[in-house]
Symmetry: C2
Subunit: 205 residues, 2 copies
Amino acid sequence: MSDSRCAASVGRPRAFDPEVALEKALEVFWRKGYDGTSLADLTEAMGINKPSLYSTFGNKDQLFLKAIEVYENRPCAFFGPALDEPTAHQVVKKMLYGAAANFADKSHPQGCVIIQGALSCSETASTVKEALIARRQEGEQRVRDRLARAQAEGDIPATTNVGALARYIGTVIQGMAIQANNGATSEELTEVADLALSAMPPIAQ
Amino acid sequence: MSDSRCAASVGRPRAFDPEVALEKALEVFWRKGYDGTSLADLTEAMGINKPSLYSTFGNKDQLFLKAIEVYENRPCAFFGPALDEPTAHQVVKKMLYGAAANFADKSHPQGCVIIQGALSCSETASTVKEALIARRQEGEQRVRDRLARAQAEGDIPATTNVGALARYIGTVIQGMAIQANNGATSEELTEVADLALSAMPPIAQ
DNA sequence: TCTATTTTGTACCGATTGGTATTATATTTA
DNA sequence: TAAATATAATACCAATCGGTACAAAATAGA
């Protein structure tokens, strides 16, 4: 019943911080992908040995899923906060600029682990692959819902196909992740974001 | 000196067609990525055994590189032919529509092996990863060169930043590959292409 | 101090990884 | 028919894969 990530009061105390170890695991999965990451890679980066990893996080699959949960809740995450902007244009602008700044940030691996963590992969990775597809589609759904709200608020024209627009925005963000992997800078990605923004419908009167 | 893929006149004749085997290998790499593909996957799909694979194609790396060469020269490849269109608008339109039709085509794996074959990967795959990055950048360069020509021909305004525009088009195409992996249909991708096209600069007078 | 409890480190598990040595087989040339 | 040549199939290699059994070590409570 108790959370496996919560240290017990009795018994030998845990010698590592699960939160820190999880961030280290995320860094490896982000850079190498699920298939490209071995348990040896993980234990070395996390500074723990395999039995500690398994008793604390389950197995490789579960560790990956917990790591991407950390990814989505990072303080520098840009996706969720962008949806809170007051207008559709501001939402999309903040989202694309956020992707441009974040994906090319050299303080962590380039791109986005949700997009590139298990794209083309082995059958072993199919569980996490499906999980990542679901997350991407959920993200797109949230954009679509936000655009529909903007449409109801008269923020974008009633004639706009919000499903197609949300998919387009998702496409650009996903492409920007590849670009970041190609070595594109934040400045270059911001230029891409500006061009992408020019496809937005005019502000409804 | 002789091409390893060319059967010799003397000795036991080869029992398989290297071209067909290469297409089978491509199919596997395309679907599973470099890291996710094992030699067992390859030999099973290609219908040959490991010594035949190694004597004919070198090793896993070289087989992958030969497979993506096949990919780029397929009859249904859309990238190169699109560049031959007479105007910049037609070039970009044919390219984006081609990606929409091709990436979601169910007669082969979804997306693009150049984009997703070795994105986040192990150190073992770093050679092919770098090769794929180079191919993507080369593709973008070809688009940039074509747009610069169009600009010289008065096809798009002199004020247009062709570097940024080429990068934007590359970004959309790369994003469409992810979308196809998400399960997007050709129709949905065509809607994305139409929105992307609206970012094109007006035709210069 | 003794016991119960939990985590640690090491050593190990069978299966699979990419790659190869070796032998049998099928062909052309002499 | 005999030799030369090249491919096929099998069996094998060390290394690594994800995962675990087990015993030593470190704590809390009695």
